[in-house]
């Protein structure tokens, strides 16, 4: 194209941007039914979602008004009445918090709900459900696995630990070689669930932070730092690559980053299950906590049916698979979108060994419930941890102290929402 044509083309595009009605992305047909969908994500992702929405509109005859927004905007818009019908790629804390304030729809009675949730591991719905009602559907999943450097382990003749008792020995050996075992940021949840514990009693009425299982898990967790000197903070990517931390527990998504950040060790590392806890009957429990992003519908939406149709279509294996594939082609392996949908997962380009481990670890996933006042639990769990690790405080006493504080807040919140106090 000559320069003149190029310039003319550019000017045309600018003029078009003033005259086009971008609220109708699909063909010139306008639809009787329209829903507005908001998302907080990057530009590239937006383009892909946009294309997919056009397909949806064509297939289901419902117009989709897609908008990119910044985090925090959604809530304000809902207040002012200018909010969307559907929000996708939201964080797991949102649906339940909005639901108790009656801002989000319950999905249990929606058409085909039972079918839809079959495609997800049931535990992924835990943090999206409260008092038996599910308020959102999962999009992505994340849970920890263990990464280790095959070459280093071979060289030093070390064994990959299967249970926590093995880990203690391993740490000795590693430290003798000036290396470290890389702990997971939320090791507490793993240990808690492996010991058969839970976060709450009675649907969020009481915190079980000072229960026996919790104390056991907490002890085990803090011991790593107080007695074994595991690093409280470490940069996994860099240290794993240099071999300083040849074994670590991290979100499985890290493997995508590793592939791009440290391609030279591509064949030298592997994923495996997180160390388990031996139960009384001799079997091993490999439980881990899980999370991910979600999509939900606001109560103020004008068209429940169309909104549900969209939500259902969006989280379905077919759509998620399409989205994930396109994103990976567009941005590369490290941008891999970790789908929650099991059918979509099967379509992803994991190598066989990785896919096996992930499927197996996922079997053991346990979701953490969201209840009114949840924010207090993570906060004070952290406070308790710091107190014990930095000032050598007594575990039982500290946990008792913070549990009381947490329970008070849980009670306040329950009263606020008429759920019956403690």
């Amino acid at each position: 194209m000559s320069t003149f044509t190029q310039i003319k083309h550019a000017i045309d595009r600018v003029i078009n941007s003033y005259t086009n009605d971008y609220n109708r992305f699909a063909t010139s047909k306008s639809f009787d039914k329209n829903i507005s969908v908001w998302v907080n994500t990057g530009r590239d992702q937006l383009q892909v979602i946009n294309q997919l929405c056009n397909e949806f509109s064509a297939e289901h005859k419902v117009g989709v008004n897609l908008k990119l927004v910044e985090p925090g905007t959604v809530m304000m818009a809902v207040i002012a009445g200018t909010g969307p019908d559907v929000n996708i790629m939201g964080t797991a804390g949102e649906p339940v918090n909005y639901a108790v304030r009656k801002a989000v729809l319950s999905l249990n009675d929606m058409d085909g709900f039972d079918e839809v949730i079959k495609d997800f591991h049931p535990q992924l719905l835990t943090s999206l459900t409260f008092m038996g009602q599910t308020y959102a559907l999962p999009e992505t999943e994340s849970f920890p696995v263990m990464f280790y450097r095959k070459d280093i382990f071979e060289e030093l003749g070390l064994k990959v630990p299967k249970v926590w008792d093995d880990v203690d020995d391993l740490i000795h050996d590693l430290q003798a070689n000036n290396m470290q075992f890389g702990p997971y940021v939320d090791l507490y949840s793993i240990l808690l669930y492996q010991n058969g514990g839970a976060y709450y009693k009675n649907n969020g009425k009481y915190s079980l932070l000072n229960s026996l299982n919790s104390i056991k898990a907490f002890n085990q967790w803090s011991r790593f730092f107080v007695n074994y000197g595991l690093p409280l903070e470490y940069d996994f990517l860099n240290r794993f690559r240099t071999g300083e931390v040849p074994i670590a527990i991290q979100e499985f998504g890290m493997c995508n980053s590793l592939a791009v950040f440290a391609p030279e060790i591509k064949n030298d590392w592997a994923m495996t299950l997180v160390p388990g806890t031996v139960k009384e009957d001799g079997t091993v429990d490999y439980s881990i906590n899980c999370g991910g992003s979600c999509a939900y519908i606001f109560s103020k939406c004008k068209d429940n049916d169309s909104s549900w149709k969209f939500l259902r279509w969006w989280v379905s294996g077919r759509t998620q698979s399409s989205y994930a594939t396109q994103i990976e082609i567009l941005l590369g392996e490290h941008a891999r979108y970790n789908v929650a949908s099991i059918s979509a997962f099967k379509n992803q380009m994991w190598n066989r060994q990785q896919a096996e481990i992930l499927s197996e670890q996922r079997e053991w996933a346990k979701g953490i419930p969201q209840v009114p006042g949840s924010y207090f639990v993570s906060r004070h769990l952290n406070n308790a941890f710091r107190k014990v690790v930095y000032s050598n405080a007594d575990v039982r006493e500290t946990l008792n102290e913070y549990t009381e504080i947490i329970n008070k807040e849980l009670s306040n919140k329950r009263r606020e929402f008429g759920l019956g106090e403690n």
Partner: protein
């Protein structure tokens, strides 16, 4: 101005050479430290992907590349809104906003400074007080007001609040207080000039440093306003808003994010460097009398 001389007039009394040198060195060290974030931003923008995640991060890039900027270009090319449109949006918002702010602030500043009328002190106090209420909680009432006035998803949400910026009013008023003598105004009135004439032909020319400063400050601030909380329509987005949406693309776009960060920081910094002397002169009159 004679004032400049006192600062370079070294012959007042013995200022020890040692004192001067120490003075300079201390300042240099402090300044060098302050510039580190800038160097870091510039450096980051040119880092290839694998250098971005090295921890601890290196201050100077080892293998500089333009890839990140090319990345911005390719993302924008795919967008259904051309880059020029974003720039036009920013220009529109900034142009109208700056113009309006200067006019409104000087009109009000002039009268508040030189005229006596009922309610004047009250208004003066409100403006000072308004500088003190912390922003967090007013976000929601603000949003609702905008919504009720139909300003959401419109450029007005950025322009109108800029018109009533209290810092601007403050600057204009203080400058007029000190630099425009009453005698001049009285002479103009005796000559039969109406208020508007006085404002336009007498006050504004005298206040040039003030509204130049205001121009620079408000340009800086408006140009870097993303307004992402109020504007969602793609075709209405300002340049910073469009650029910053690239940052949400996750680690795949980390390089591009670094380049974007640099681009967003450049205009305000350059405007400041170029306009330094004017700014300083206005700030000289920014004190409070009482």
């Amino acid at each position: 101005m004679a004032a400049h001389n006192i600062l370079s007039n070294k012959s007042r009394y013995a200022r020890s050479v040692f004192g001067n040198v120490m003075n300079f060195l201390i300042l240099l060290i402090v300044a060098a430290f302050m510039v580190i974030p800038m160097i870091y931003t510039v450096s980051n923008a040119f880092k290839p992907f694998n250098e971005l995640f090295i921890f601890p991060p290196k201050l100077i890039v080892m293998n500089p590349t333009f890839d990140n900027f090319l990345g911005i270009n390719s993302i924008l090319r795919q967008s259904w809104i051309p880059l020029v449109r974003y720039i036009l949006n920013s220009l529109l918002v900034t142009g109208i906003g700056v113009l309006g702010q200067i006019i409104l602030a000087s009109l009000a500043g002039f009268v508040l400074s030189k005229e006596q009328f009922p309610g004047r002190d009250f208004l003066n106090n409100i403006v000072v007080l308004s500088l003190m209420f912390s922003g967090g909680v007013t976000a929601i009432p603000n949003y609702i007001i905008f919504a009720k006035l139909g300003m959401i998803n419109s450029h007005l949400s950025l322009i109108l609040p800029a018109f009533c910026n209290s810092l601007g009013l403050f600057l204009m008023k203080q400058f007029i207080d000190q630099m425009v003598p009453m005698s001049l105004l009285e002479a103009a009135r005796i000559d039969g000039a109406g208020e508007f004439r006085i404002y336009f032909n007498v006050v504004m020319p005298l206040c040039k440093p003030a509204w130049l400063t205001l121009l620079i400050f408000s340009f800086q601030s408006l140009w870097s306003t993303a307004g992402g909380t109020y504007i969602y329509d793609e075709q209405l987005r300002t340049l910073p808003s469009a650029l910053s949406t690239m940052i949400y693309g996750g680690i795949a776009r980390a390089g591009v994010s670094a380049a974007v960060a640099l681009l967003l920081v450049l205009p305000p910094t350059i405007t400041f460097i170029l306009s330094q002397s004017n700014v300083l002169q206005t700030m000289a009159s920014s004190g409070m009398k009482e």
